[in-house]
Symmetry: C2
Subunit: 344 residues, 2 copies
DNA sequence: GTGAAAGCGCTAACAC
DNA sequence: GTGTTAGCGCTTTCAC
């Protein structure tokens, strides 16, 4: 027999013959309640089919148990593991997570403005998205706890990787295979690391080997095609993301250049299809970055200070079968794994 | 100059010299407010930096503007597009979306129980997850609007595909290429369609050709290996999902069977890597299924009746380069596209 | 068109 | 330990 009107805490209190305060304590598992009282109240709760109102509790408490996470391009393969990592941690801590997917600048501004509103979320995680100065200021003034992942924001805790080191690692792997003309496709910070490694190894620093362009596999494919059409083409190409590396693979395929025979290709991120494609890459612990960002937000929410602001996650070279020793490389050159070549 | 205490609607009312009711009307864009009054109020709002409380509004209104979506295995490639589709539609309708990722039965029960709580969400979308009778009953009694995607629930609006037809389409494609011994890996409903098509074509119905096992590429790989080891192995294999088809491709590779030369492989779903791998498949409009489910939930939330309960989305054959005419097939056999072979 | 007042259902501070 | 009470900040009748 369900009551027509949903039971409230007052109904439970009345039914149990206690005050609402006591019921509240029982619901929230407060310590100072006599066991017998607790039992009585619990019975009333069960009998009435009472379910606490999330909304009323949050309003009364002054803050929702909800966190918002803003992610760019949910369909892009590198953000999903991050989101999953964050959801897992947030869930463990009892937070609901509202996900804001951003595909356009307008959407970004819309979501950010909405989240800065009162009682929208207890805290916010921003992934891979740069805020405008005004937006940053809005958050600062609203006092809304904020952390970022994969993007640096002054004064805000952020979880990132050392892209410069990553660039060095990628170039280093190729150099160790004996490559001396290494092409590069996109992204400033990783380029810096690439340059450092290439310079240190005394390999070719031909500016023609460096191509920058918008993110995305198709543009990377075009840039790679340019590199391959060079009079003295590179023997290896480092792309700043796996997505772009896939474009490079496509360009190689289209140009009749065999990988890794004629060309070694190196990606960055280690997204899921990288393994499928046998793509050598620099692994970034994407799931962990989401989890860590969430963990830091929870700390903030608990009132803890989060220091240092910058948390840097480790990177790792994952050699697969898209990289191989350069033809005629010194015999000491490191051997790459054989290519699994699921597709053929 | 920020007030130390966040401005409330009462502050705005006082500042504008009007009643709170009027301020509320302005905030919510109600029609019956004189233009001059609206302007005055708006000024006060801006001056005080007032931001309405989401929580208080929802509590007062009696329902949150939040929808929950429960998805299994966020990291699995077929759910992400669905989630993205749902988020897009819900966002357009002004709903916040809390995402509940479910990796274990315990998590599923936990989330479902929590969502059934009062004022947790205005409505719920469940993706690819079967509820227990008790859970279904809980939702029914709580009156919480519910829709499902990719799973049938009696009495609940659901957006699904015709798996039987899909199975027929897949088998049909392979049959049209001249294959007569077609293996099958996993999933009951799609199997039915496969059987229908195979029977109608008078092709081999050897029960040895049908293998069922748990979802996942590794188990599919094992099952496919069994099929390939048969004395009279199939010339084509239909896997009930792209993920499993990828396992089949791996098995073929490992057994030295060339695709599509010796073996045609057909998947189901058209996940993102299907295109990368040149996998022929049955395309399911995943994004649309999410969007449609969300649309139906919004209708429910608006108070509209949603009929018919079952919404069936169309499927489509996508021939790529993992399928080719059977050796010695009749000359009339349909030609498959050439394999792009990004990886090689 | 606009103001006043009664909730929405809970938490937390305070008294007993 | 437990009851009482005052908010939390808004929406929504209902008068005027």
């Amino acid at each position: 027999m369900q009551p027509s009107r949903p039971a409230t805490i007052a109904d439970v209190a009345a039914a149990a013959g206690v005050g609402v305060g006591t019921v509240s304590r029982v619901i929230n598992g407060a310590a100072n309640v006599r066991e017998s009282t607790r039992a009585t109240v619990q019975q009333a709760i069960d009998r009435l089919g009472y379910r606490p109102s999330h909304l009323a509790a949050a309003l009364s408490r002054g803050t929702p148990r909800t966190v918002a996470i803003v992610v760019p391009h949910l369909t892009s393969p590198s953000v999903v593991p991050r989101l999953a990592g964050a959801l897992a941690v947030l869930g463990e801590h009892g937070y609901d997570t509202v996900v804001c997917n951003v595909d356009t600048p307008a959407q970004r501004d819309h979501h950010l403005a909405a989240l800065a509103g009162r009682h929208r979320a207890a805290g916010v995680i921003v992934v891979s998205l740069r805020l405008t100065a005004a937006q940053a200021e809005l958050f600062r003034r609203s006092g809304l706890p904020l952390v970022t992942i994969d993007v640096v924001m002054p004064g805000v805790p952020h979880t990132v990787t050392d892209d410069v080191a990553g660039g060095r690692m990628a170039a280093g792997h190729l150099l160790s295979l004996g490559h001396r003309r290494i092409g590069f496709v996109a992204s400033q910070r990783r380029l810096t690391g690439y340059r450092q490694a290439v310079a240190a190894a005394g390999a070719s620093q031909d500016p023609d080997l460096v191509r920058r362009g918008p993110y995305g596999p198709s543009s990377a494919e075009a840039l790679a095609a340019e590199l391959l059409a060079l009079p003295d083409p590179p023997t290896a190409i480092f792309a700043a993301s796996d997505t772009q590396a896939i474009g490079v693979l496509a360009a190689a395929d289209r140009s009749g250049v065999s990988v890794p025979g004629d060309l070694s290709v190196m990606g960055f991120d280690d997204i899921e299809s990288a393994a499928l494609l046998g793509l050598s890459t620099i692994r970034q612990r994407l799931w962990d970055s989401g989890a860590e960002g969430a963990r830091r937000l929870c700390a903030l929410l608990r009132g803890d200070r989060v220091v240092p602001l910058r948390q840097q996650l480790a990177l790792e070279v994952v050699p697969r079968s898209s990289t191989a020793p350069a033809r005629g490389a010194a015999p000491g050159a490191q051997l790459a794994a054989t290519r699994p070549a699921i597709v053929n």
